[in-house]
């Protein structure tokens, strides 16, 4: 891969300026006794492997989970700042656009094949009092839309906690409260969505291609758009229970870049239970979670109709950590039931191959699609195994399977004439986004190899293989594009300070 795009250089310059500025500020303000580690490591004085399994961010060890559940309060207050940057390159297997009427670059991000500085983050993280601590992440993305090098800042995950622990030989009870902006960001296990599977060091595309095209709401659908308060208890390192409520918020510090004032109608409850057991170098967890949210169809209009999302899930995590070996496995099953407002869903109409959309009744002659289903279901199954040797060399293999109901509203694209126009006289829809099956079913594997040359740096190579994409393994777009054409190679260099 080569850095070829002029626009890429612009983005890199911007990002490098940002990263070097922050690093300079750190270096000037804090040099003695710092080990050059991120803020939490400076707070405890410990190596990354103390909290992260095999040094593999973001997977937490038993000790890392205790650090989080006790409110990030272990250690000494220090300068609560960290920074991180990711350089990455993405290459999709097939980027041929079958639609000669469209710009061939419309379909595929222009960063395809380029090595770019893709994201940079700053963190405010650390102990505040004996009982209060937290972290706040803001991320600068150099790439925001499929064809634009437009850099911008946005809020990323944030989690502030109050925690207390009553422990003596007879009892061990942790209880606490969390204020966070992403359901499951507060979770200490890596089988929950926010810190599980493919969170680090960032998605391959920054768009919708080359990765799972849809997920249940609890798996990132509300990330950085809401603010939630929860209470939790962890009893005898065995039973964990948590209840939280999420609301849309006017607080832009937690939702900057994703601000939707009226995304959630009222309060969305979230619950989580887990059973954990440790023996020898082994650690095992079984858990369940659930969330119910009513979302406004227009997130800027609190009087717009709503859609009800009811999610529940089961997950488990196993870890074996005994130097020099670290083996971890996560499995997660999420089920979602989507119920549309009676005025929105259950409309007459079916997929019309001439107009390329589901079209009938009030929508005739428009480019809007009729929502014929009154409800939908979506299931996401994921399983991942990772191994790290000497906290230096590692690899992982994961499987993902998304299955759900068929809905003509998902259907897009013309089945007949690839040069045709839609009912508005516009060129037909981009082929990569086309869906002729009306299903979102997507299955595949991701394999990764990585090396940690330093404890705060990781270099990795991922390959994602799709066996099914948007409901079909072949010709999912109606123009002959196959699921495997979306196979994606992803290279990254991740560093933190």
């Amino acid at each position: 891969m080569k850095i070829t795009s002029i626009r890429a250089f612009g983005a890199i310059r911007k990002s490098l300026w940002f990263v070097t500025t922050f690093i300079s500020v750190f270096a000037a303000g804090y040099s003695a006794d710092s080990f050059a580690l991120p803020a939490f490591a400076r707070q405890t004085g410990q190596n990354c492997v103390a909290c992260h399994a095999g040094g593999n961010f973001p997977e937490l060890t038993s000790y890392g989970r205790m650090f989080k559940l006790t409110g990030y309060t272990l250690g000494e207050r220090t300068i609560p700042l960290s920074a991180m940057a990711v350089v990455s390159g993405t290459k999709m297997r097939n980027t041929n656009n079958p639609n000669p009427a469209g710009d061939p670059r419309d379909d595929f991000p222009m960063k395809n094949g380029d090595l770019i500085v893709s994201t940079g983050s700053i963190f405010l993280a650390g102990k505040i009092t004996d009982n209060i601590g937290g972290f706040y992440q803001a991320t600068y993305n150099t790439w925001n839309t499929p064809d634009k090098w437009t850099g911008s800042w946005a809020s990323d995950n944030a989690d502030f906690r109050y925690a207390d622990r009553f422990i003596d030989p007879q009892r061990d009870v942790i209880f606490g409260m969390t204020l966070n902006n992403n359901p499951t960001a507060q979770d200490p296990w890596n089988s929950a969505p926010a810190w599980g599977f493919d969170v680090a060091p960032g998605s391959a595309w920054g768009g919708s291609y080359g990765k799972i095209p849809a997920s249940p709401l609890v798996a990132g659908g509300l990330a950085q758009q809401v603010l939630g308060i929860g209470g939790y208890v962890y009893w005898d390192k065995t039973i964990y229970a948590e209840l939280a409520g999420y609301q849309s918020t006017n607080n832009k510090a937690f939702t900057y870049g994703n601000f939707n004032a009226s995304r959630i109608s009222g309060t969305a409850p979230y619950g989580r239970v887990a059973y954990t057991v440790d023996w020898g170098g082994h650690s095992l967890m079984f858990g369940a979670l659930g969330m119910s949210a009513k979302l406004h169809n227009d997130p800027t209009d609190s009087s717009s109709p709503t859609t009800q999302y009811n999610d529940w899930g089961l997950d488990a995590q196993y870890q074996y950590i005994l130097d020099p070996h670290t083996f971890t496995a996560q499995v997660s099953y999420l089920n979602e039931h989507i119920k549309y407002d009676s005025g929105t869903g259950g409309q007459p109409g079916a997929y019309d191959s001439n107009s390329g959309i589901a079209n009938s009744g009030a929508n005739t002659g428009t480019n809007a699609q009729s929502l014929t289903n009154s409800s939908d279901t979506l299931n996401l199954f994921r399983i991942k195994g990772s191994y790290v040797y000497r906290a230096t060399y590692g690899g992982s293999l994961s499987y993902f399977g998304l299955h759900g109901s068929s809905n003509s509203a998902y259907q897009m694209g013309v089945s007949g004439d690839p040069t045709g126009l839609d009912v508005n006289g516009s060129p037909t829809l981009f082929s990569v986004a086309n869906n002729v099956t009306g299903k979102q079913d997507t299955t595949g594997w991701t394999a990764e190899a990585f090396v940690l040359p330093l404890q705060y740096a990781r270099i990795g190579l991922q390959y994602t293989m799709f066996s099914k994409y948007l409901g079909a393994s072949s010709n999912y777009d109606g123009w002959g594009r196959n699921a495997k054409d979306n196979n994606t190679l992803f290279f990254y260099m991740w560093g933190a300070y």
Partner: protein, 213 residues
């Protein structure tokens, strides 16, 4: 109004920052926090609230001799003990401890009652008896002396010579490797000479035996 708000915020900030909870604090570097609170709130995460750890990554501390414990903690604090398992976890945790806190922690863990290591039952009998022979008699052909002379007949330890009974075999094997092959534990340099003649199998055998005690 704005001024009032600013003053209020400042007062709240000072209040929060000043807020300490000495009875259940996880703060390191505050000499006012008792060793018992520190042992329960911090050390217990890896070593267990009564000094019995679950993971072999972390040594059992229950019943450990106070002299040895103090020697190790000051070694971590001064960064002279530099084996990876030590510095990755312990340099940072020990850096702000006072002498009194270290002594208090030594007393806290020293008075805890050691329990039988649950991994002991999985050891093979021939391994245990081979380890027992090494522990009690040494290895004559390699000039390895009997361990009992310093660590006691039943591995109970003596002053600066640590208690080994019931310790995790994995931890003991790795530490014997550190002594034999590195200079990362200068305070235990005597062990470099003693462990010099041990084969890797010898180390595993004697560690397996000690785990059963």
């Amino acid at each position: 109004m704005k001024k009032l708000l600013t003053i209020g915020c400042l007062a709240a900030t000072v209040g929060i920052v000043a807020c300490t909870n000495l009875e259940r604090s996880r703060t390191l570097g505050n000499p006012d926090i008792s060793a018992t609170v520190m042992a329960q709130q911090v050390c217990s995460n890896c070593h267990g609230v009564e000094g019995t750890s679950i993971s072999p990554n972390f040594p059992n501390l229950a019943g450990q001799t106070e002299e040895y414990f103090v020697l190790q903690m000051t070694g971590f604090r001064g960064q002279s003990r530099a084996d990876p398992a030590g510095f990755e976890y312990m340099w940072g945790l020990s850096r702000g401890l006072s002498d009194d806190q270290i002594k208090g922690l030594a007393t806290y863990f020293g008075k805890q009652t050691p329990v039988k290591n649950p991994a002991a039952s999985s050891e093979k009998l021939e391994v245990i008896s081979a380890g027992e022979a090494i522990y009690k008699n040494g290895v004559a052909e390699s000039n390895v002396p009997a361990c009992t002379s310093c660590h006691g007949d039943v591995g109970q330890g003596n002053a600066q010579f640590p208690r080994l009974a019931g310790q995790h075999a994995d931890y003991l094997t790795k530490q014997l490797m550190v002594f034999q092959r590195t200079d990362e534990r200068p305070e235990g340099s005597i062990m470099k000479t003693i462990a010099h003649g041990l084969t890797e199998q010898n180390m595993k055998d004697v560690a397996a035996y000690l785990q059963t005690l």
